[in-house]
Amino acid sequence: MRVIDVKEVAEAVAEMAVQTNHFLGDDVKCRIKCRAMEEPWPVAKNVLEKIEENIAIAEEGVLPLCQDTGLACVFLEVGQDVHFTGGLLEDAINEGVRKGYAEGFLRKSVVGDPLRRINTKDNTPAHIHYEIVPGEQVKITFAPKGFGSENMSQIKMLPPSAGEDGVKDFVVRVCEEAGANPCPPVVVGVGIGGTFDKAALMAKKALMLPLDRENGDPYYAEMEKELLERINNLGIGPQGFGGETTALAVKIMTAPTHIAGLPVAVNINCHVSRHAERIL
């Protein structure tokens, strides 16, 4: 058994909140750079170059990449041989968010109730998912999620007869309906199977997969490629001004499902695709 003080968790969360809001992963930066070079439409190329400029300014550490510094989504994979001490784990995560958003001069974008809408003023509570895994490590993934793109996400309970084509058509339609709203170029996370909630969670987790690694299942790797091509044939382009680069990547996660169902969730992320991992 390994003992971990929850203060370590709080510290890690606070650091990642600041880090993710100023620095993008190399995989995302690389994809944007490639697309800026390959984009055939001049207006679109220009927008992608501005986006690269923005990334460079944010890396100086003074101004966050985007003013929507997100709802703090935290994913924890907790080894089953870990014992937490020093307080409640959930409190520690929220303490980390509070600290990171205050000290990092990040925007507080959370309301305590969805209808009464009073800002909690410290960006808490975080949106937390726990998973118990083998071992004695804790893996924390921190992903601040902007709502311009979150609002363009959709879920559909398709009949199994809709099949592969039904799933693909739905994914492309969601991107077309989203248009310029989610700050394209976007990253598209797709969850197929499971239950209503599981599909949505997979779609969100898919957004955290490395963009430079192919899907391990050749069948879905092929589908990701085809979907990316279809989305980039829509012509929406960066910021919706027209062009090829509407999406940077499509990422799929799947799960077993019921004989009567084919749930599909599409979670859209913007080009400011922020996430970081830390292992304790």
């Binding site: 923005n54 001069f105 925007r107």
Partner: protein, 185 residues
């Protein structure tokens, strides 16, 4: 085309702009998002006064991050505009000449733009650090309790925007996409 336009932001100056043009704006721009728009429209309904002169004004849909000491503003990119669609026509009819945001607008807003000879600009969504560098000063002038959503008076220099809806009915979101797709045929 590329233009440089300085205040006052009159209809006459904006009349030449066409969907797809890029413009560098210099002068005063007011910030307001959902909550501030809601309050302003409610104030008008109750017969009150708006917190700034609406005639010839440009409103930027933004809720910036808190400014670090020594900086005029934090990251300051546009928020999605459709959430302001319910309120924008009222302000356009009172003389607002420009809106800066991102994303599609409703038919009602498009009609109000046309009726008033106004313009809808987009700033680059997700480029908040870049935009912030073109803001020279910022001052909260109303609804301080709204935090990031308070109304700020910004002084901007060469603030880069793209014309989405022009005063003659042009719409870059449909025209830009169509032009690109046509170029591939």
């Amino acid at each position: 085309m590329e233009y440089r336009i300085s205040e006052p932001f009159t209809k006459e100056k904006f009349a030449q702009l066409k969907a797809g043009d890029t413009v560098l704006l210099t002068g005063t721009v007011y910030t307001a998002r959902d909550a501030a728009h809601k309050r302003m429209v409610e104030m008008l309904q109750e017969g009150g006064q708006l917190p700034f002169e609406i005639k010839n004004s440009v409103i930027y849909y933004v809720g910036p991050t808190p400014e670090k000491p020594g900086n005029p503003i934090g990251s300051a990119g546009p928020t999605t505009s459709y959430r302001m669609d319910a309120y924008a026509p009222v302000l356009l009819d009172l003389g607002e000449t420009g809106m800066i945001g991102k994303g599609q607008r409703s038919q009602t807003v498009k009609e109000a733009v046309l009726r008033n000879g106004a313009v809808y600009f987009a700033a680059i969504g997700g480029a908040g650090a870049l935009m912030a560098q073109r803001v020279e000063s910022a001052e909260v002038i109303a609804f301080e309790d709204l935090g990031a959503e308070a109304v700020r008076k910004l002084s901007v220099k060469d603030f880069p925007v793209t014309v989405i809806l022009d005063s003659k009915g042009g719409d870059l979101y449909s025209e830009g996409r169509a032009a690109y797709l046509e170029s591939r045929e």
